[in-house]
């Protein structure tokens, strides 16, 4: 019992520490976007610093491999492998994607498998956004005076707005619809007595589905979170893609971007599993005393609120630094 409480608190603390926030979004050089992270100290300072040093080294290795690829054309798999590792390390450092996804798990999910699916989908969406953004830029925006950084900025802001909406939407479901359950039950009883079966759609549109009550959401809702997070491409992938496209290494650029996505997706999946497990654990151990599912609701509402706040902070930071 004691151990499980500590496990849960430890997990919560870890996610607080994971909060990466975006100040100084505009890069110091005025060219390109910085991946503004406000990490993180306390218990995990040493760990995050270690992650940061690893990321820097991977970045250097990617550079060296790409430069020799430009000359000799070899090292394709070495590049893909390094990019995969870069993705893993990128994901366990602080940043917004994994925080949103993990909070989404806290707010929403009970199934570990879906957690993994959502995490992987969000990471691949980020890779796809990067590939499409740079392709579109090279084909259509080149020479227009618009910078790659401007495009990245637009996607970032769209992503933060999306995250805010996901948070709000989750909050609405958790607060408004759940407290409406009792009303619906009541209403339903009356329906049977009074109107019979004639009323097909009144009340049904906002009637919670059985799986909603148990915390499961449809694929469509999960997609909203995936798209919101995935709209923001990672700066590292953009830099690699631009270099590859400029040197005709199209396949290498795309493959290494998706290798990063795979690495990031696996690492975020780990965090998502941790979040879901910790939540289920906490809910289960409190089960005997907590028949109303109060703890579950508190965790879910906090998760939803947290997503909204992350979106809000990132959005405000991005536009005030534009």
């Amino acid at each position: 019992m004691n151990k499980s409480v500590w496990f849960f608190l430890g997990t919560v603390l870890f996610f607080w520490a994971e909060l990466g926030s975006d100040v100084l979004a505009q890069s110091s050089l005025g060219i390109g976007r910085n991946e503004q992270q406000i990490p993180t100290g306390g218990l995990f300072a040493g760990f995050f610093d270690w992650v940061r040093i690893q990321q820097t080294e991977f970045h250097q290795s990617i550079r060296e491999i790409l430069i020799s690829m430009r000359k000799h054309g070899a090292h394709f798999w070495a590049l893909v492998g390094i990019c995969f590792l870069y993705g893993v390390f990128h994901a366990i450092g602080p940043g917004h994607g994994k925080v949103v996804i993990s909070s989404y798990m806290l707010a929403n999910e009970v199934a570990v498998r879906r957690g993994v699916m959502v995490s992987m989908a969000a990471s691949f969406m980020q890779g796809l956004t990067a590939v499409l953004a740079i392709s579109f830029f090279v084909l259509a925006l080149r020479g227009s005076g618009i910078k790659t950084g401007d495009l990245a900025y637009g996607l970032e802001v769209a992503s933060y707005i999306g995250v805010m909406f996901v948070g709000l939407w989750l909050l609405r479901r958790k607060l408004v619809l759940k407290s409406g359950d009792a009303h619906h039950q009541h209403h339903h009883d009356h329906e049977h007595q009074g109107h019979g079966a004639t009323c097909d759609h009144c009340g049904h549109s906002h009637m919670p589905e059985p799986e909603t009550l148990s915390g499961k959401f449809g694929l469509k809702e999960a997609w909203t979170a995936v798209v919101a997070v995935g709209l923001r491409p990672c700066t590292g992938a953009l830099i690699v893609l631009v270099f590859c496209f400029a040197n005709g290494l199209y396949l290498a650029g795309i493959a290494s971007t998706f290798a990063m996505s795979l690495g990031t997706g696996l690492a975020v999946s780990g965090l998502a599993i941790l979040a879901v497990t910790a939540k289920n654990f906490a809910v289960r151990i409190s089960g005997a005393q907590d028949r109303l599912g109060l703890l579950n609701r508190i965790i879910e509402i906090c998760g939803a609120l947290f997503i909204f706040l992350i979106g809000l902070i990132l959005f405000v930071a991005a536009i005030s630094n534009a």
């Binding site: 607080w16 520490a17 909060l19 926030s21 100040v23 100084l24 505009q26 890069s27 110091s28 050089l29 005025g30 060219i31 390109g32 910085n34 991946e35 503004q36 992270q37 406000i38 990490p39 993180t40 100290g41 306390g42 218990l43 300072a45 040493g46 995050f48 610093d49 940061r52 040093i53 990321q55 820097t56 970045h59 250097q60 550079r63 790409l66 430009r70 450092g93 830029f137 090279v138 080149r142 020479g143 005076g145 910078k147 790659t148 950084g149 590292g236 953009l238 830099i239 690699v240 631009v242 270099f243 400029a246 040197n247 706040l309 809000l312 902070i313 405000v316 930071a317 536009i319 005030s320």
Partner: protein
Amino acid sequence: MRSLMKFALTSMLSMVPGTLAFAHPHVFVDANIEVVRNDKGEFTELRHVWRFDELFSATIILDFDKDGDDQLSETELKEVTDTIHQSISEFDFFTAIRVAGKPVDFYEPDALKAYFKDGQMIMLLEVEPSEPQDMKNEPVRISISDTSFYVAFDYDVESISVAGNNKGCKASVVHPNFDELYADNSETLTEAFFDDPTNTEDLGDEYYSWATIDCT
């Protein structure tokens, strides 16, 4: 807007004991430092040569190549240097100079110069201290660093030279030891962060690489 953001950010982060701003760099620069001395042996000018990595250089070409010839013309290059000049002026041109432990003021540099060589952008930048600094009694310490950690500057003893009277001058470079810093300073770091979460300049000299040019 900014203060609202800061307030929100600080309140959320205050849940985390001890927080420090670190992103990992995305741009890598090999830096050369040339210290110029006058006849009296005073330090009068600092000449930077920054060689940007190939990946970032490719981004610059894509962003600023208006006519699509894969090269940057004089006017296109000027737009690059103007953009960078304006932006890094908010970061003290990534330059810090200390004599006898005190910061040395310098004039805003003239227009930057840049050219491309083998797919890498090379940028030149001259920094002039507002007063010539005596080098006979005190060594000069110089750091090139981006406090936002977007750019990583790499320099070593071989990157440092003294122009003019360089008799008896010795250069050395000290890089930060993060393991030690984290072990010793977690308290101070926490305080510095909460005073102003967006300001990382208060981290202290020991968080950056420093070159020492000793002609005493």
